[in-house]
Every structure is written in structure tokens, then in C-alpha cells.
Amino acid sequence: MLIKKEFLQVFRNPLLWKILIIAPLAEFLLFPYTADYEIKVLHIAFIDHDHSSTSKNMMNEFVASGYFISHGNVSSKKEAEHLMEQDKIDFIVEFPHDFEKRILNRETPNIAITANAINSVKAGIGTGYVQAVLYEYLYEMGTSLGQPDEQANVLTTNIYWFNEQMNYKNLIVPGILVILVTLIGAYVTALNLVREKELGTIEQINVTPIKKWQFLLGKMIPFWILGMLEFMVGLFLMYLMFGITVQGSLILLLFATGIYLLVMLGLGFFISSVSENQLQAMFIVFFLFIVFVLLSGLFTPIEGMPEWAQYLNYLNPMSFFMDIIKLIILKGCNIHDIQNQMIVLSVMAVIINTAAIASYREKVN
């Protein structure tokens, strides 16, 4: 009975259909093209006091590497700094006077690199690129100056796994699936329930003999189905738009998503029970959502975070689900590979839903 009422209510709401179709489409159209953390383009200017063939070759090498767009030669440091101040360039590379001559005289002249470090990530990774270009040169020149035969050397070959095309979208797109499911689960559920609270319809249900868990279940099932539908729409779009296929078992993926949705729905219920109006509910969900996303490692590596943040991640359901999604979709893992994450999520689901029911009960008494 109750479930039927909820179904009708949920699926009659036109906004919901908008969310179901438009939200995944919009996110897929926006995120993969814009949320690109990779540093591909660096603007560079040179100050060449040497004007020798060595410095010219080096400058060409920068452009040839494909990472740098040259703004050409500027005559003075001041001019270069002015360009940097206007954010036109990210790097200044300065070759000293008599650079070539001093190399031949073994005087080890210095190349001065200046990075625009307001964006520390870009400066850090970019400096790596600059040095890589110069090191290449350094090595070649060093061997031509020294005696290379005597020296042992270790070479490296690189092998790339789990994303052979090295496509950034393969990482971000599964991440969007996680965000979609989370938003549907927590956001829509919490807001929907608080709205009923504001309108007073929950009071009406409270006076009927329906038990709390029955009520929650009746609310939960339609939203759960909605979330699963959303996820499948997302999967389909992922294949259609980006050609990403699920490497592992599809059924396992859906099963994991089902459990994660239970956690998020429970969270949504819990929040709806503790908040008094829609504005509050929205802020609580929003607050948690941002913490979850930032800690989940979607945009920045978890390994780079301080230890306390890494421990905090053990409480973050999104981080576990992000793991599962990546493992199944990109690496083709089976149930044994992800059983730990699954157990954690299941425990979280039980705890949060029990808390939600208890909290609702308390509110009534």
C-alpha cells in the first residue's frame, strides 16, 4: 500500500524525470571536458643572453616536447616578469651570457628557471617538465664531454596497465557515476522527506498504525529503484559517449551499487530526521558531500594527503565505493578482490539505517 503510494508520488513528479535524464547527461557533457586536472599546456618565455646555437636548440626542444607554448624571446627580466604578472606565462627560462662558451670551458653555467607558483600544483608538475627537457640535454652533453663507455647504466621501460590509451576521461567518468548515485541517494531523499515534514504529511502517517521501519522501507524502495535506474542510465551513457566498457562483472557492479545506495539512502533519512527545514537538510547534505568528494581521491591522490585525512577516509563511504567502481570498471576485479570494501559498505548501511529508524522513533515520542 505504502510502497504503491510512494511509487505514484515519486514517478508522477515531473522534476524527477528531469533529474533522472538531464542530470547524468549534463554531468557527462560538462565534467569530462572541463574537470581535467592534467597539466598539458604551459606558457613559457625565454630570456636569451647567449644567442648561441646551444641556447637556440634548447628553446626548440621545449616547443618540440609538446607541453610548452613559447611566447618567444623577451629582452629583459623585467619584461618577462611583467608577462608573468599578467598571467600570460607560467615559466621563464633564462640563459646566462656566454652560456655555450662556459659549457665548453667546463664552468657549469646556471640556467635560471622562474615558475609562476600561485598555482602550486601547476608549478610543481611544470617544473618537472622543464627539468625533464633540460635533463635530456644535460645527459647528452655530459656523455659527449665525458667518457660514457666506462659507466654502467640502468635503463627503464614503461608498461601501462588498466588504461592503455592513457585517457584522462577513463578516470573521471566512473567518478561521475559515483557522484550521480550519491546525489540521488542522499540529496533527493533527504529533501523529499523534509518537504513532507514541512507540509505535515509525516504527522498524518505517524498517527496511522504503520510502523517506523515500514514507513522508511516504503520510502526507500522507490528511491532505491530510482537510484539504480539512474546508475544504469549513467553506465549506458558512459559507453555511448566515451566508449568505456565495464571490464569486470556487470552484475557485481550493480550489486555493489545497490549496497552503496542503501548507505546513501540511510544517510538521507537520517539527515531528514535531524533537520527542521529544507534549507538545513540541503546544507547538511551539501557539507557532507563536499567532504566526501574532496577526501575520496577523485581529484587528488589519497596518498598525497596528510595522515589524519587518510584515516578520515575510513569513515567515508564514497571513498570505498570509488575504489570499487574503479576496480570493477577499469581493472576488471572479481568479488574476492573487493570483498573488504563490500563488507565495510554493508556494515555502514546497517549502522546508518538503524540510526535513522531510531532517530525517527525518538522524534515521535
Binding site: Q280, F287, P301
Partner: protein, 367 residues
């Protein structure tokens, strides 16, 4: 004027009465600055790796010691085959694996050449490239040491200077963006929601038929949230200066003026949205999808605009955050004055004027 004061008082009481929301609104900027400041870094320590050592001789042991001593890596597994490496990637959360060839020691001594294979997990490209660089550094250190530090003469040196941000603090980049986000949440989102709430409960109509001028109603709605977002902005500035030692090179009054103009723009976005929708839920959805998300993605504070397709770069020009972020960065970090950023101020101001006049005329038509 008296009417305006009355509306203002009513609105302030509304805000102060909802303690939880108020607390969350004030906690949000604090949390954002701390999270962004502490969690975002490209430096990786103790990444888990696996080593397939096919030679197990004294040189390969030395090499492994070198890896552990670097602090970048932590060897968590010694697989025996490539299948086992695959298993480790899936189970033990390793980020990279290396294969040391058989007879490593002999190869180094006799052939003067050995090849180490690096297996990168490129499902996360940025992590993979950072770790790959670390591994090469370790390898070249090892080679230098093996050769008795008699490396070939160094033809030239390099010195690197980090302009504007010598400590490489990530907050420098994020603080301007966080201020923009918070102002959008507080001014645009909350303004649009409270106006939508009045509509939902029918009190908007009552307000509009009172003799209070319509402009006063709207101004009275906007000002309290501007005050609130000003408090949030000050909170962000205080934390970034005290915790992360971020400098404020320009004039603080000019900075606040700039924030005020952006507030006006984002409040007028909120006004515009509330004129379009009828319920709080719709107001939230439209603000989130139409303003908040584009601010996160298209303002250039998280993701470089250079990387995006041309279409999105153009689209970014139509959202206020991009201009505000450029301007506030200049004022805070470089100490630019009015002459350097008047263009951006003008853009923000024109946006505000257009939006306010359009939405006021829309409210008119409803009557």
C-alpha cells in the same frame, strides 16, 4: 527608509532563528579552506609498490634498499610472476610495480647495462606520472652510486625560483576560488531559496500588496545575506592568513570592495533564479546546476581553462566567478590596484545591473 529597516529586521530575525543553518553556513568556509589547504598536494609519500625481483643478488638488494630509503615508496609485496602483480594491483592497492631483470648484478658489471621494467597503473594518470618520476630519480641515484659517483661532468646547472609562492602552498590557488564559492552559496543560493520560500508559502504576494515598495522588499531580502557572506569571507581570509600564512599584498579595503561587487553580482543571479522558479527545491536545483557547478568547473580555480575545448572557454566568460577570481588573485597575491583590475570590476557590475533590471521587471509582470 523605515519600511526597508522593517524588512531587514524581519529577515535578520529569520536568519538568526535558524541556528543550525547559520552554524553550517559559518562552518562551511572554515572546512573548505582547511580541507583544500591540507588535502590537495601533488607530493606523494609512502606509495605502495610491488617488486618482482628476478635476480635476488646483492645489487638488486641494494637497489631495493634505495627505494625504501627514498621515502617515496613502501614495498608491500614481492610477487613471483606478472599474474601476481596483476593480483596485487587489484587487491593490495599498489600504485606501481617494477620488474628487476635476472642477473642484474652481472649485467651491470659485464654489459654495463640493465633494464628495469616499470609497470604504471594509469587508471589514475596524475599519480602514475608523479610516481614514475620518483622512480626514475631513485634509479639514477642508484646508478650514480654504483659508478662510484663518477658521473660524467655536469655541463650546466639549473636553479628554480617559485615566484609569488615560494612555499608552494596550495591554498594560494584555492582561497580565491573558495571565497567565490561561498559567496555564491550564501548570496545566490540563499537569496533564491528564501524568495522561493515566500512564494511557496504565499507570503510573497502578501509582501507585495503592502504599501512597501517592491525594490525595498528585494533589497531587504538581499542585504542580510550579503552581510552573512561578508562575515564568511572575513573568516576565510583570517584562516588563510593565520593558518597558511597567505599574504594580502593589496589594500584590504579594496579587496573588500571587490568582494562587495561580486556579492552584488551573485545576489542578482539569485534574484534572477528566484524570479524563474516557484519552489525551494527548484530554486536549489537551478542554482546548483546553473551557477554552482559552472563556478566549480569553469572558473579556472580547480581545473585549468587552457585544457578545455574552446566552447567551454567561451562559456566560462559568461559566469562571474572567472573574472572575480582573476581580480582577487591579483589584489591579494600581487598587490594590484584599481588600474589593474577595473575591467573585471566593470564586467561584474554590468552583469549585476542587467540581471537586477531583468528580474525586477519579471516580478512586475507577475503582479
Amino acid at each position: 527608509m523605515k519600511e526597508l529597516m522593517m524588512i531587514l529586521r524581519k529577515e535578520f530575525i529569520h536568519i538568526l532563528r535558524d541556528r543550525i543553518t547559520l552554524l553550517l553556513v559559518l562552518a562551511m568556509p572554515v572546512m573548505l579552506v582547511l580541507l583544500f589547504g591540507f588535502t590537495i598536494s601533488t607530493e606523494i609519500n609512502n606509495a605502495k609498490i610491488a617488486v618482482l625481483d628476478l635476480s635476488k643478488d646483492s645489487q638488486s638488494k641494494l637497489f631495493l634498499n634505495k627505494i625504501t630509503a627514498s621515502g617515496y615508496f613502501q614495498i608491500v609485496s614481492y610477487p613471483n610472476s606478472e599474474t601476481e602483480i596483476d593480483h596485487d594491483f587489484k587487491n593490495k592497492n599498489i600504485k606501481l610495480a617494477i620488474i628487476i631483470p635476472a642477473n642484474f648484478e652481472t649485467k651491470l658489471a659485464v654489459d654495463k647495462k640493465a633494464t628495469i621494467q616499470i609497470i604504471n597503473d594509469v587508471s589514475d594518470l596524475n599519480v602514475a606520472s608523479v610516481l614514475n618520476n620518483y622512480m626514475r630519480v631513485v634509479i639514477s641515484d642508484f646508478v650514480n652510486e654504483y659508478n662510484g659517483n663518477q658521473s660524467p661532468p655536469i655541463p650546466f646547472g639549473m636553479s628554480t625560483q617559485m615566484a609569488y609562492n615560494p612555499q608552494m602552498e596550495s591554498v594560494y590557488m584555492f582561497v580565491p576560488g573558495i571565497i567565490a564559492l561561498i559567496m555564491i552559496i550564501v548570496t545566490a543560493l540563499m537569496t533564491s531559496i528564501t524568495l522561493a520560500r515566500e512564494k511557496e508559502s504565499g507570503t510573497m504576494r502578501m509582501l507585495l500588496i503592502t504599501p512597501v515598495k517592491k525594490v525595498y522588499v528585494v533589497i531587504g531580502k538581499i542585504i542580510p545575506y550579503m552581510v552573512l557572506s561578508l562575515i564568511c569571507t572575513l573568516l576565510i581570509l583570517v584562516i588563510s592568513v593565520l593558518v597558511f600564512q597567505m599574504p594580502i599584498k593589496g589594500s584590504i579595503w579594496f579587496l573588500l570592495f571587490l568582494c562587495f561587487v561580486f556579492m552584488l553580482t551573485s545576489a542578482s543571479f539569485g534574484l534572477m533564479i528566484s524570479a524563474m522558479v516557484n519552489t525551494q527545491l527548484d530554486a536549489m536545483m537551478v542554482t546548483m546546476m546553473g551557477l554552482f557547478l559552472p563556478t566549480v568547473l569553469l572558473s579556472g580555480f580547480l581545473f585549468p581553462l587552457d585544457n578545455m575545448p574552446y566552447f567551454f572557454q567561451i562559456l566560462a566568460d559568461f559566469f562571474p566567478a572567472k573574472w572575480f577570481i582573476i581580480a582577487i588573485k591579483d589584489v591579494m597575491i600581487k598587490g594590484t590596484g584599481f588600474l589593474g583590475i577595473w575591467k573585471y570590476l566593470l564586467i561584474l557590475f554590468v552583469m549585476a545591473v542587467i540581471l537586477i533590471s531583468v528580474s525586477l521587471s519579471r516580478i512586475d509582470k507577475r503582479e
